[in-house]
Amino acid sequence: MSETKNKTEVQQGTLALMVLKTLDVLGPLHGYGIARRIEQISGDLLAVNQGTLYPVLLKLEQEGSIASEWGASENHRKARFYRLTRDGRRQLRAETRDWEQTAAIIERFFAVKAEDLE
């Protein structure tokens, strides 16, 4: 098995963002597919049960950021496919901006040395 790394818990808000980004990059996907992709991207650093994805998908769908419909999966089974809506795209862009701003500010703080604050 893989090394036992300390897996980080993830908050629901960030999970939603990951879902949106995944759909943005990869286009319409079914639930299992989204879970697998998130696992891959995070590289097993996240300790998230795959099942917790579904409530998040419901919340996003209720808010109108994603839409769903029935389709056929790879092995020709019936699966529910989710895709990003225009609202969702807008939300993604806004949240990406927020995250980048936050990250930039934090980075500045981490780069500060005692001398710079004279």
Binding site: G31, Y54, A79, R80
Partner: protein
């Protein structure tokens, strides 16, 4: 915006939850299948692949729950779920559910009915504009006629002259109206219609009566001051009730000519519906006539007698004025008026002049004669129903506690399986609420029925006349109060066991099940049973006392015979008879009725016993000094035709009764009763002695020709012997020595025909009516009933109260017994183990039964200790105004205690027997 969208979505999602559930399951299953496939591909065995898939998915049910929490409106869904669950649980325990709902319904219903009635009778305002502004003159109503120039304690009834004096001189009143204190009965016939006159109640009122009350005519117009002038065309106003019921709201009635007591009147308008006059009475007036028509209609005109007091006064005080100042002004005016009549005042009146005063009181409730009459009864009823409500709450609490205890194990188990404590408590809450709602709804129905029933029995309906203007609909505040009280009781005792169960570590509850000794019996339940027993005892004692009092009242020696006697009530004044025609009329009525087969005796009296009224007079014994103002020289009297005493079944002790010998031209005679003889003649032989009346200012008017046994005529003071009474002969007229005018012309209009039938004969009302009609078809018969019924009618309220209290007493006994049974059975059940041990160690069946019974009787004894003093206090309260009542009647108290003890025995016998039949081995085995 997003949140709103989400909320709307959630609302909609609630509707599609069925298919959503399926969809979720399908999606999750699909996810798991794909992960399993991947694991299979990685080389795991099918079982291991599935297991790993499940592991990495996470807890399916928890995730589904999370999903559901997002999806619909979880709060409402949980509510529905809880409700459905609670309903199912209640359906599975029908006995419990029925018991709780019934007890709640009864408690809420009875309490609401009684409090609504009390509220209506005690607090009902007049159906007029701004009743709060009205003031009446007089604290206590005085009815219905008064004479002289002094009234003890306060002037509360007025003459027309005095009213005019107040009306014209008191600046403080914006309007002051006068109206008849008593009532009048009119023989009414529509002009141009050939029909017999019917008797309807009516009232004489001043011209500004309706204007002062702010009441407008529903049709036509109401009386105006211009109608209340001497010589004005005679007009009348009809009640809405009569217009609707008798004339079908026929618009032609307005402006039509009617004959009232054979005098033509024009009906000018109809009062609005709901207007019942100036006082709450069983039979509201159907006709309102101007005061100044009174001499026109009535034989003895009271209007123009300065010192005949027959009017009540109510007025509207000018805004901004204090009633105390108006009252002070009126007192001064009263003294002025009295002084202006100084020459006509008797010596007594002059002595009493300084004490004469009057009082103003808020008049929004009208003249409160009915209120005073019924107030005590209603208070008793209120206490009784409060007790019942308490007992019912105790019972409901008891039942809920039992249920809670039974479910203790279940609750602990649920908690052990992961249920939230709060959810469990909420389930208990839902159940309690459902029961309370059901009980409340049923209680509403019971309240309607009860109110209707009580109204019908307390204020019986006389056919053709109006009825008490109190609606039978329960008052909302009272209903809500009773409902609230029982809901709180139900909820508190429903939640308490659930709440305590969730505090306990589940393993404790599960382990300790079934094992207990006497010490661990539940204290709350025991105290509830003790409370119920105490209250039941009080109610039983009260009902016993009231029933005993009633029996004493009904079985006393009345002094007259009740069997085979019928009373037919007439009113000759309705058809315009003059007082000199009456003797002939009565003679013909006597002959007509006596000729009927089966009739053995007939007589006519002004008032038969306990018919509700009697006239009074001041007695002046010949040879004794004139009675002073503070001497008690009153006696009641009655005018009768010959042979009356035989007819009514009163024995003549000495001398003779009234006979044919007593004619208009012979010496005026009187027959006195024993009380009269004792009081006014003491040891002397009264026969042959003379007495007179103070108002005639002569002491030699009547000669006593006989002494009759004491008989009850007046409905009051049943705990004291009958007061002094004398009987006068109908054909004889007393006249004032100076003027030669008749002293009591109205007393010759006799009301009650006494008909005695032979044994075994049934006399129908039709034949009586026929016989009277053959004498005069226009003479209406107002009512026909047996003397027994008439007497019975006097005790209607007592009977009602006694019956109601008995009913509630029995009910509370049953409830208390059920409570006792429940607690005893429960405790015995919990002690099964202990009993098994005892029996194994040699205790006999009897000893085991005694053990259980002892426990039960300990509770009852405690209840008795609390209840006995309460019962005695209650008895004192009841007895303060009841007649023939002994609050410490030992027989009743002992009977109540024995009854309670007996039902306690019955209630606890079954669990005791069952406990004694336990086989030790079974008991020890069952854990």
């Amino acid at each position: 915006m997003r949140t709103l969208k989400r909320f709307v979505n959630r609302l909609g999602a609630w509707a599609t939850r069925g298919q959503d559930e399926e969809r979720l399951s399908a999606e999750i299953e699909e996810h798991l299948a794909q992960e399993t496939a991947r694991n299979l591909g990685a080389g795991l065995s099918p079982d291991e692949a599935r297991r790993q898939a499940l592991l990495s998915f996470g807890p399916v049910e928890a995730i589904k729950d999370d999903y559901r929490a997002q999806r619909g409106l979880p709060f409402i869904e949980a509510l529905f779920q809880d409700t459905r669950y609670a309903l199912r649980r209640l359906r599975n325990a029908p006995a419990f559910t029925l018991a709780v709902v019934l007890t709640l319904a009864l408690g809420i219903g009875a309490t609401t009915a009684i409090f609504s009635l009390v509220h209506a009778v005690l607090f009902k305002s007049l159906a007029v504009e701004n009743p709060a502004e009205l003031y009446r003159v007089g604290k206590v109503a005085r009815c219905c006629y008064w004479g002289g120039y002094s009234q003890d304690e306060e002037f509360s009834i007025f003459s027309y002259d005095l009213y005019k004096h107040f009306r014209d001189n008191t600046r403080g009143f914006a309007a002051l109206a006068a109206f008849q204190a008593g009532g009048a009965l009119f023989g009414v016939r529509r002009a141009g219609v050939a029909e017999a006159a019917q008797g309807y109640p009516g009232e004489f009122v001043s011209g500004n009566y309706f204007a002062m009350f702010g009441v407008r005519g529903y049709a036509g117009r109401l009386l105006a001051p211009a109608d209340d002038q001497p010589g004005a065309p005679p007009v009348a106003v009809m009640s809405h009730r009569l217009w609707q019921q008798r004339y079908g709201s026929d618009p032609s009635v307005v402006g039509a000519l009617f004959s009232l007591d054979n005098k033509p009147f024009t009906v000018v308008g109809i009062t609005p519906p709901g207007f019942f006059g100036d006082k709450l009475r069983s039979i509201p007036p159907d006709f309102f006539l101007p005061l100044n028509t009174e001499p026109y209609v009535e034989a003895d005109a009271d209007l123009n007698n300065v010192d005949t007091y027959w009017l009540d006064l109510i007025g509207r005080i000018r805004p901004g004025l204090a009633s105390a100042s108006v009252e002070a002004d009126m007192r001064v005016e009263l003294k002025q008026w009295l002084r202006s009549h100084w020459a006509d005042m008797s010596a007594n009146d002059r002595v009493k002049f300084p004490e004469q005063t009057l009082f103003l009181r808020p008049g929004g409730a009208g003249i409160t004669a009915m209120r005073d009459e019924y107030e005590h009864w209603l208070q008793i009823l209120m206490m009784v129903s409060a007790f019942v409500l308490l007992i019912v709450c105790a019972n409901v609490a008891n039942l809920m506690l039992v249920r809670g205890m039974e479910r203790r194990q279940q609750t602990s188990l649920s908690m052990a399986l992961g249920a939230q404590a709060w959810r469990l408590v909420r389930q208990a809450l839902t159940e309690s609420l459902l029961l309370s709602l059901a009980g409340g709804a049923a209680g509403l129905a019971v309240a309607y029925a009860c109110t209707r029933l009580i109204l019908r029995f307390a204020f019986p309906h006389i056919a053709g006349m109006g009825s008490v203007p109190i609606s039978a609909s329960p008052s909302m505040p009272v209903l809500l109060f009773a409902f609230g009280v029982s809901t709180i009781a139900g909820i508190t005792f429903g939640i308490a066991p659930a709440w305590t169960a969730t505090r306990v570590d589940p393993i404790e509850a599960l382990r300790g099940a079934g094992r207990s000794t006497a010490r661990t019996g539940s204290l709350p339940r025991k105290s509830l049973v003790v409370l119920q027993a105490a209250l039941a005892l009080v109610l039983l004692a009260a009902s016993g006392l009231l029933t005993a009092a009633l029996r004493n009242l009904e079985n006393q020696d009345f002094g007259f015979s009740q069997d085979r006697r019928t009373i037919a009530r007439i009113d000759p004044s309705l058809t315009g008879y003059q007082s000199d025609q009456l003797t002939t009329l009565y003679g013909r009525i006597h002959d007509s009725l006596a000729s009927l087969p089966g009739v053995s005796d007939v007589a006519v009296a002004q008032y038969s016993p306990l018919s509700g009224n009697n006239w009074g007079a001041g007695v002046w014994i010949d040879g004794k000094p004139l009675p002073g103002p503070h001497d008690d020289n009153l006696a009641s009297w009655d005018r009768v035709t010959a042979g009356y005493f035989n007819a009514i079944g009163t024995r003549i002790i000495e001398g003779r009764g009234i006979t044919d010998r007593d004619r208009a031209d012979s010496q005026l005679v009187a027959v006195i009763n024993q009380a009269f003889a004792r009081k006014y003649f003491q040891q002397e032989d009264p026969v042959g002695k003379y007495f007179g009346r103070t108002e005639m200012q002569s002491s030699r008017v009547y000669v006593v020709v006989g002494v009759a046994e004491d008989a009850r005529y007046v409905h009051s003071a049943f705990d004291k012997p009958p007061g002094p009474f004398f009987f006068l002969a109908e054909p004889q007229h007393e006249v004032f020595p100076n003027s030669g005018k008749d002293v009591d012309p109205g007393s010759h209009f006799l009301h009650d025909i006494v008909i005695v039938t032979r044994p075994g004969v049934r006399l129908t009302s039709a034949r009586v009516r026929q016989a009277v009609a053959s004498v005069d078809p226009n003479l209406p018969i107002i009512s026909i009933q047996t003397l027994a019924e008439q007497v019975d009618g006097q005790f209607r309220q007592q009977r009602l109260i006694a019956r109601l209290t008995s009913f509630f007493g029995i009910l509370s006994l049953v409830l208390a017994s059920i409570g006792l049974y429940g607690v005893t059975a429960y405790n015995a059940g919990r002690r099964t183990g202990e009993i098994g041990v005892r029996m194994a160690l040699g205790a006999s069946r009897t000893q085991v039964a005694a053990l259980v019974l002892r426990g039960a009787f300990a509770l009852v004894a405690a209840g008795l200790m609390v209840g006995l003093p309460l019962a005695l206090v209650a008895g004192r309260f009841l007895g303060s105004q009841l007649y023939g009542f002994n609050p410490y009647d030992p027989a009743v108290i002992v009977a109540a205690v024995l009854t309670l003890g007996f039902s306690a025995l019955v209630a606890s016998l079954i669990p005791a027997i069952r406990a004694s039949l336990i086989s030790p081995s079974e008991a020890l085995r069952a854990e």
